[in-house]
Amino acid sequence: MTDVVRIFRRSSAALFGLGLVAVMAVLAVLAPWLAPRDPDAIDTARRLAPILTAGYPLGTDEFGRDLLSRLLYGARISLVVGLTATALAALAGSLCGLLAGFVGRWVDQLIMRSIDTLMAFPYFLLAVAIIAALGPGLVNGMVAVAVVNIPFYGRIVRATVLAVKQTEYVESARALGVSELRLALTHVLRNCLASGDRRRDPQYRRDDHGAGRPLLPRSRRSAAHLRLGQHAGREPPVSQCRAARGGAPRHRDLSHGVGLQSAGRRTARRAGPAASMR
């Protein structure tokens, strides 16, 4: 833990990023008190109000809903999905990588070929297909984003495990009679996470922008009208950061092309606008 504090203190960029995320988190948590109005309240008389309209600091969308309130409430969903999906992907990916790197042989082959398969699959289609199979909904959305991101963690952890496995302290622990499971979890995994030396797998250096990534697929997907819940009509209408951001072009009919209402297509027609009107 102290290491984390030290790393953050040393880097002003890290501190800045942390501050930014903290501000977003605080705004999201305080949304019910900060938001000037109900994010889903419709006021057709005030459709598409420009920015800085009295009472609507950021203006309104095509249904006359307050954009500031929608952004604040949307940040909650974006943050929860981003963090949960990252945690899920990191957990599942690390386990796969640990198993592959530590056990080796056919287990390694099986896991790595599966990871290659996931990587070769166009990620956006994979997410859409998973949503189509599981049905729309916040949890399914998180699962989809997590699955798409598993390969990145899996490959990094495997590469690190392969390096750590060769070290003398692992060898001596094994000589002392430490069980393989304990060896894997305490000696190898912990040192992989601590060193976090992603550079061992240069393929994934691009991933050094870390946890922000899963937020984006989320927004990509929602941009695609996979507005979970809202279309299914199973859950109360939700606003996401993106719903507010993506709302603007819709009336220019841009989203006609973006209309990937894959899973809930027919339900959407039935429940979509109605659900928003509730």
């Binding site: 070769a120 166009p122 956006f124 289609l125 297909a129 189509a132 250096r205 092309g257 973006v258 990937l260």
Partner: protein, 324 residues
């Protein structure tokens, strides 16, 4: 994978191609399973709400959808290994030519984005590394972080608003002008905004990687020796630093191509680019199994081939690497 030792590039390439078989097999199983397990029935979607149960069942029989899933999968695979991707369910046309036609547009878009990513990313990365901690370094890395963080659809929409609607410099959608325009220049003109949209994130990622990779090399003893023997700085960077820093960048290119192919879908929908992605999304909605399966297989094959090519490129830039 790559090790110092005896030669054998063809053998290595062959072994890698063989390794691609289980991966593509996995992709085919995954896409088949996800699609067929998803709720929704292509026959019912095709016939509409008025169709009777008998109509739907008859269409099921005609399409072979009444068979067990394993039989359907094996039948499809039997066609695929013969180079036939089947027929689209609602369109009734052969999948392969349809998919290839659309894939060409996607490739043009991906190539454009990759070119932009390479030019911007390499330039920004090299400059930042050579002038480390200068204002130029801080500026380009700041822009890079921003670029990585921007969602594709947002960048695309902003570019459309500014450069297509306000300034009217570039068209907002499509791949060619409706009247007369079909030449290369016309396609390039349409390509500018989508390629920038798709390439931004990759350019930013490449810039950061290039910077760290060059910085690692620039501190090596042999670079100091090169400077000490009186080589011009330009020659040191070009011949001694870049040649050694390029391998991790090439590695990432393979993954970036996959990232671009996967990300092209959104760019295509924002810009109404007639690529594979927008067609695939419509096909998923219609549960057009053969079309989606064929398209995914095509993209996955491209990804595998590109990554193989990337791995073979190492040897050109680093003669120490031998494949065995």
């Amino acid at each position: 994978m790559a090790a110092v030792g005896g030669g054998g590039l063809p053998a290595y390439a062959l072994r890698r191609l063989l390794l691609a078989i289980p991966v593509l097999f996995g992709v085919s199983v995954l896409v088949f399973a996800v699609l067929h397990l998803a709720p929704g029935d292509p026959a019912a979607i095709m016939l509409g709400a008025q169709a009777t149960k008998e109509d739907v069942e008859r269409l099921h029989r005609d399409l072979g959808l009444d068979q067990p899933l394993v039989v359907q999968y094996l039948r499809w695979m039997g066609q695929v290994v013969q180079g036939d991707l089947g027929r689209s369910i609602p369109l009734g046309r052969a999948v392969l030519p349809e998919v290839l036609l659309r894939f060409k547009a996607t490739l043009v878009l991906t190539a454009g984005a990759l070119a932009i990513a390479l030019v911007l990313g390499l330039a920004a990365g090299i400059i930042s590394a050579v002038k480390q901690y200068s204002w130029l370094d801080r500026l380009s890395m700041g822009v890079a972080v921003t670029g990585v963080s921007l969602p594709v659809f947002w960048t695309g929409i902003m570019l459309i608003i500014v450069f297509a609607l306000q300034l009217r410099w570039f068209p907002s959608s499509g791949m060619s002008s409706p009247y007369g325009g079909s030449g290369v220049a016309d396609v390039l003109w349409h390509l500018v905004l989508p390629a920038i949209t798709l390439g931004t994130a990759s350019a930013a990622a490449l810039a950061r990687l290039t910077r760290s990779s060059v910085l690692e090399i620039i501190r090596q003893d042999y670079v100091r020796s090169a400077r000490a023997k009186g080589l011009a700085e330009r020659a040191v960077i070009a011949r001694h630093v870049l040649k050694n820093a390029i391998n991790p960048i090439i590695t990432v290119l393979g993954v970036q191509v996959g990232f671009l192919l996967g990300g092209a879908i959104l760019t295509e929908t924002v810009f109404s680019w007639p690529g594979l992605g927008s067609m695939m999304v419509r096909a998923i909605q219609a549960r057009d199994y053969p079309l989606v399966q064929g398209g995914v297989l095509l993209i996955a094959t491209t990804f595998v081939v590109v990554n193989l090519a990337v791995d073979l490129l190492y040897a050109i830039f680093d003669p120490r690497i031998r494949y065995d």
